[in-house]
Amino acid sequence: MLSYLIWRLAGSLVTLVGVSILIFGIARIVPGDPARLALGPAATAAQVDEYRERLGLDQPLPLQYFDYVSGLVHGDMGISLYTNRPVASDIIQGLPATLELVSASAIIMLIFGIAIGVFSARYRNRLPDHIARVFSLLGIVTPAFVWAIFLMLIFSDRLGWFPISGRLSEGVAAPPTMTGFYLIDSLLNGQFATFMDALVHLALPAIALSLPGLGQAARLTRVNIVEAYDQPYAEMARAYGLSSRKIAFKYTLRPALIPTLTVLGMDIASKLGNAFLVEAVFVWPGVANYGVQTILQKDLNGIIGTVLVISAFFLLINLAVDICVSLLDPRVHLRGA
């Protein structure tokens, strides 16, 4: 396992280098002058030229890339033209909030999605299954930001049950940073009131972000379990008179989860980039919106920094999925090169 992890991490580094070259090139080819966008429309042409020179944008592309990578190995992702401060600071400031949101939504998605899938398969082609399928389909076809607005209008605006904005209520101090996740940090510091406040703030955005994936999880789980029910080992279990619950959870769920997890892993990773509209609706101080703005403002360093972080997240999730699959299926062995 250890050699496998080292091998995968080394492979991930190569992938990240490839991604950085690709994004570095694309960001510079896309039309639009980053220097002009940074200085604004009132700046004179001479000022823009001078600024472009100062940014090194007049240098050959390989040299610009070399400079960037030289900084990167020292932990310097460059200055954001959009916020005019280090990209690393921009990302670090918002990343924990987005990761907490994505993690919470992933947990909701996995728990409820798989449970609904199992339930649906258990009662396949009967009323509970039909209801679950409609719900799943609704989840899939409705974008997360629509769910976000819907939930916000119903449960926050109309009913007033949940707060609308931010991670904590005004006047509630953030817990001392240990992980950057308020739920965990507040518990680790014994701040139960802060934990509850963070939880009610997190609930709606996490549910909104989870619903499309939850529908996907439910459908995939259902299909794979139904398929597994038809396998000879399931037939045999039934012939032995095992309980339906035991068959579902012990014999069919495990094999059914393998393809489901593979797909859902990518779904979870993509939430990091897709969370920006949910963040905008719930005034969530995350990093997803920053990623979008860097592209719109042609903030070269910001684009590369954000894409590298998202890519790293994808690779980590992919690795986690592979490990989970090896745990679920004993026939799969993780070996290094």
Partner: protein, 567 residues
């Protein structure tokens, strides 16, 4: 394999076993537990204001704007940057009420001797660090602004010959030539504390000045302002609180705290206003969203005029718009009233008012006696008859900026109006980044495009020279590619003439010349609108004649009044 006793029929799901009751009981317990958790969560959510009491003693106002919150005074020209600027920094002078002239602020007096401007500073003004403001800080701030070259730098770069600290409280700035807009330009010169900046230099390209403290000032304040930064996340939120050591008295009813949030979705802003958690909505919300807020008790619309106008830019180098008669035909064929009505929120809350030319209402040289533009199809046809092109000879491209959805409606109206004259047009949606690139070349600059150029200062030179001077052709505000000797001459003359009484006729003449050339269609003067709650009042915008006519300046929180929280 161990065989479990049969409990259920696998295929039909029917229950038939002795441990059924236990299973049911477990299930009920689980459901009850889950119900309790949800009820507790909801109850807590509904009453989670229980421990925010410490802040209720303060008056807080909450605003929304577009990200990012710029706090460096050398860069702050965007809307939110300007608001932050005028609250955490101060300038030597401020415009007089109504935006006319200049009044002392950090400088208690000033004298003009030829090209030399001498400012006498107030004594005892403290930075947020507690150190006293001196002439060295003013000189440093000006040098820093010019070196960085962003934001308001065009107002000074090339015009400042020298800046020196004559003594601890006296600054002399000499311009390279007579430069009438200089006093108004100082409204954009925020004074930073030299010692703090020098102590916080980061990696950069300015020689011994490294980054000139840019990385530090993006996150921290080094000013004398009425408010200081409590927390700042440029993409999401800035919290400010009153500076108790401010050099001017701050009225007790000015807000103690200000929370500025960035980039909040419009539906959320409406919901927050309804709950009393947002006091001033973003100016960038659509007219429809703003109209929605009028249904909320106590909400009214603030209007801020005198900052910008919708200019429909006509590329004077591309056929058929290289013929002035065709340009005039377009101007006369446009339905101004309908166009302006698209920006209105209600009959009482106008987002636009039809104008009469290139100068904004109240600007030096503006002549209120000139009638506003209105559609005149007969005159348009007469102009078209004199044009060397036939209306349908060339397809014209009408561009609207993807970031400003309202412009699409304007583009459709233009297409319809000008179609009645026989013009053949196509509409293109273009992001700002591409637009800036396309206008840099006269052959790719669109036939027709729309932009709201904003003046860096209330001086007419700041507003007109970045659009109509030959030397600025191809810059984002100058998509017209106008080159006219008379215009250049009048712009130069207006800049060199120091006496306001002599300057006014120059700008009147310039406006007349531009109306004659018609490089743009001055569609309407924009009134920036902000829905606001009854809890806040903004006297600078609510009381007639007090508008300071500089972006962000009317949002000086020390001039606002905030009622205590009603919770």
């Amino acid at each position: 394999m161990k065989i479990e006793p049969a409990e259920k029929s696998v295929l039909n799901g029917k229950v038939s076993g002795g441990s059924v009751d236990a299973a049911r009981s477990r299930r009920r317990r689980f459901v009850r537990l889950a119900q309790s958790a949800v009820i507790a969560l909801i109850a807590f959510g509904a009453s989670n204001t229980a421990f925010i009491d410490p802040l209720l003693a303060q008056t807080t106002i909450r605003l929304n704007e577009n990200a990012p919150g710029d706090t460096d005074p050398a860069r702050s020209t965007r809307a939110i940057g300007s608001i932050l600027f005028y609250n955490i920094y101060d300038t030597l002078l401020l415009p007089g009420e109504g935006g006319q002239g200049a009044q002392p602020h950090l400088a208690e007096s000033y004298t003009i001797d030829g090209d030399a401007y001498t400012f006498k500073l107030r004594q005892g003004v403290k930075f947020v660090s507690g150190n006293e403001l001196t002439a060295e800080d003013v000189v440093f701030s000006l040098e820093r602004l010019i070196a960085i070259g962003a934001g308001p730098a065009p107002l000074f770069k090339g015009w400042v010959k020298s800046a020196e600290a004559v003594d601890k409280y006296t600054v002399r700035i000499t311009t390279t030539a007579p430069y009438a807009p200089f006093l108004a330009a100082t409204f954009r010169l925020g004074i930073v504390e030299k010692a703090v900046v020098l102590a916080n230099l980061g990696k950069g390209d300015f020689g011994e000045m490294k980054d000139y403290g840019q990385a530090y000032l993006v996150m921290n304040s080094a000013g004398t302002g009425a408010y200081k930064i409590v927390s700042h996340a440029p993409q999401t939120q800035t919290v400010l609180e009153k500076n108790p050591d401010y050099f001017l008295p701050i009225p007790a009813d000015a807000p103690d705290r200000v929370v500025l949030s960035y980039g909040v979705e419009q539906a959320t802003q409406v919901a927050l206003m309804r709950r009393g958690e947002l006091d001033i909505m973003s100016q960038w919300a659509s007219p429809e969203t703003k109209r929605t807020t009028l249904g909320i008790e106590g909400v009214s619309i603030l209007g801020e005029a005198g900052l910008t106008a919708l200019q429909i830019k006509l590329n004077t180098t591309r056929a058929p718009l290289d013929d002035v008669h065709c340009r005039r035909a377009l101007a006369l064929g446009l339905d101004y009233e309908t166009l302006a009505s698209l920006a209105n929120i209600s009959d009482d809350a106008k987002g636009a008012r039809v104008t009469n030319g290139p100068l904004l209402n109240g600007m030096l040289g503006y002549d209120a006696n000139i009638p506003v533009y209105k559609r005149d199809m007969d005159a348009a046809k007469a102009e078209l008859a004199q044009c060397k092109y036939k209306a349908g000879d060339h397809e014209m491209e009408i561009v609207w900026l993807a970031e400003v959805p309202l412009e699409e409606r304007f583009a459709l109206l233009m297409q319809q109006n000008w179609g009645e004259l026989g013009f053949n047009t196509k509409i293109n949606r273009v992001p700002v980044s591409l637009y800036y690139q396309s206008v840099a070349n006269k052959d790719t600059s669109p036939h027709v495009s729309q932009i709201f150029p904003s003046a860096l200062s209330p001086d007419p030179d700041s507003y007109l020279s970045s659009v109509y001077g030959t030397d600025v052709r191809g810059q984002p505000y100058a998509a017209e590619w106008l080159s006219d000797e008379k215009v250049d001459e009048l712009l130069a003359k207006g800049r060199e003439t120091i006496d306001p009484d002599k300057r006014a006729p120059i700008y009147s003449e310039l406006a007349a010349r531009l109306r004659e050339l018609q490089p743009s269609i001055w569609a309407y003067e924009a009134v920036t609108t902000y829905p606001k709650s009854a809890k806040v009042s903004v006297p600078l915008l609510e009381e007639p004649g007090r508008n300071l006519r500089v972006a962000g300046m009317n949002m000086m929180f020390r001039m606002m009044k905030a009622a205590p929280a009603a919770k």
